[in-house]
Amino acid sequence: MKFLSLVLKSARRSKRRTALTVLSVAIAVFLFASLRAVLDGFNAGAEASSSTRIVTQRSTSLFFAMPISHGETIKSIPGVQDVTWANWFGGVYKDPQNFFAQFAVEPESYLRIYPEILLTPEEKRAFLDDRTGCIVGEGLVRNYGFKIGDKITLQVGIPIYGTQDFDFTVRGVYRSGGGAVDNQSMLFQWKYADERSVEKGQAGWYVAQIANPDQAAQVSGAIDQKFANSPFETKTDTEKAFQSTFVSMFGNINLLLGSVALAVVITTLFVAGNTMAMAVRERTMEIAVMRTLGFQSATIFLLIAGEGLLMALGGGLLGALLARLLVNPGFFPSGGFIPEISVNNTNVAIGIGLSAVIGIVAGVIPATMAARLKIVDALRRVA
């Protein structure tokens, strides 16, 4: 403890340089924690997927639809208990910048198969009874201020739905009861979209409820077999794999974000290391004097390394705190592909731990330089 004030005084020697170093570590930790939160968000949907839901899409691509008659066929496959379907609507709310997902769903079966969509009985009834009604996630309510009874007009985004705007009435605000369902989407009745669709009776994907998760592969195979060699061949997978398909539409997110985070950390490491090395070079005389007074090499090493660690930890705490405050559900508009993003305690702890690693690694070489300094050579150099 008696050396702590010495370390603090040394760190304050060049306030601007110390502040810039702390800031660079803070930015690195902020980015790292934020990117980890985004990655967590991408993975959370898949991780929280139900093991009793399987999803059927066109074998060619999710962008191609299938006839609505597939629903009954899927329901007839042994092991399937229930079926629902949905379409991607892709409408525009006022401005293309206002991006959120809208799904045209078969409402009764969809709410049955997704019990994670939490509505009051009144909201559910109102939604089912209104052909142009919709329900919105509470995340959308936060972002756009929607409330029950509001009219929402969406411009058509995909030409298949014609050119006329769609008007909706908000009938409910749903909460998400699990990571498989985000709360930033809008759901409305499939038949409302279908009646204006150029191609009638098309579903984007089917979701089947199966009785036994262990039979998922077997049931999936049976569904795809049923439509093999037809004009609308299918690809059925677990919900987890289907969620991953959405994520993969962004590219290899893990690799991309991981690479960015790594580049930021390594750059910061060099910046902090260079700053510490400069600080040691400037203090050659002082280190030689302290060694002359009887300070052990190990003590000098700890003082310099401690200074680096202190600066890095300061930056780490600042960066983690900022990430915790700023990276909230409104930070990254995922459009319903992934659950809401926020920096959790684990990411804060990892960020601070990372700053400690930066501090230790950046301080090791300068601290070793200082500890190995030959007193006589150092005194002669500055004399």
Partner: protein, 234 residues
Amino acid sequence: MALIEVRDVSKLYRRDAMEIPVLANVSISVPEGDFLALMGPSGSGKSTLLNLLAGIDRPSRGTIHVGDTEITGLSERALASWRAQHIGFIFQLYNLIPVLTAFENVELPLLLTNLTKKQRREHVLTALNIVGLGERAQHYPRQLSGGQEQRVAIARAIVTDPVVLLADEPTGDLDAKSAGEILTLLQRLNTEFKKTIVLVTHDPHAAERTRRVLHLEKGTFVAQLAASGAQAVS
């Protein structure tokens, strides 16, 4: 009885393939309570000898005893501990740490001891009072004159109550008045506080204030003078 015993010490510096002799078979005895001046032209080896006595450099040959300890046989770690306990070193350019106050600079060597904060404070204030800077304890080096800075450096050197004070041209960077005050202070430390002092200097006036003067030239002693600029005695 000799407090410092230097026996046949040589020091060679290697620069690339060349060996440069700085000290050649030097032997001296410094009795306890002595105030010795080492004089000589630049490159004569006087500062090198002082560094060897301080244990911050090692001889190529020969032995150095200080008290009961042969410091030439100590490890780096043991030597650092020994310096902390037995040596007070005064530099020409004071070498105070600019971000620390006078108090904190003087306290620095005490951080290596087991003294409590209160005890350290007592020691520091005593040392600062001895050098006449008790009231400047909270001043930073930049707020002090050169003479005052050197007095703080002397306080730092004596705060651990070392046996030996080694001063490397302590007046070399000071005006005549400040230099005189520093020499008076060193004399006082020698006479009143019984410190054994070895002083390296170019200045004959500074040497006059010591008890003995040894002249070095090209790494060997050429003459020993009595105190107060008296005639050569050997």
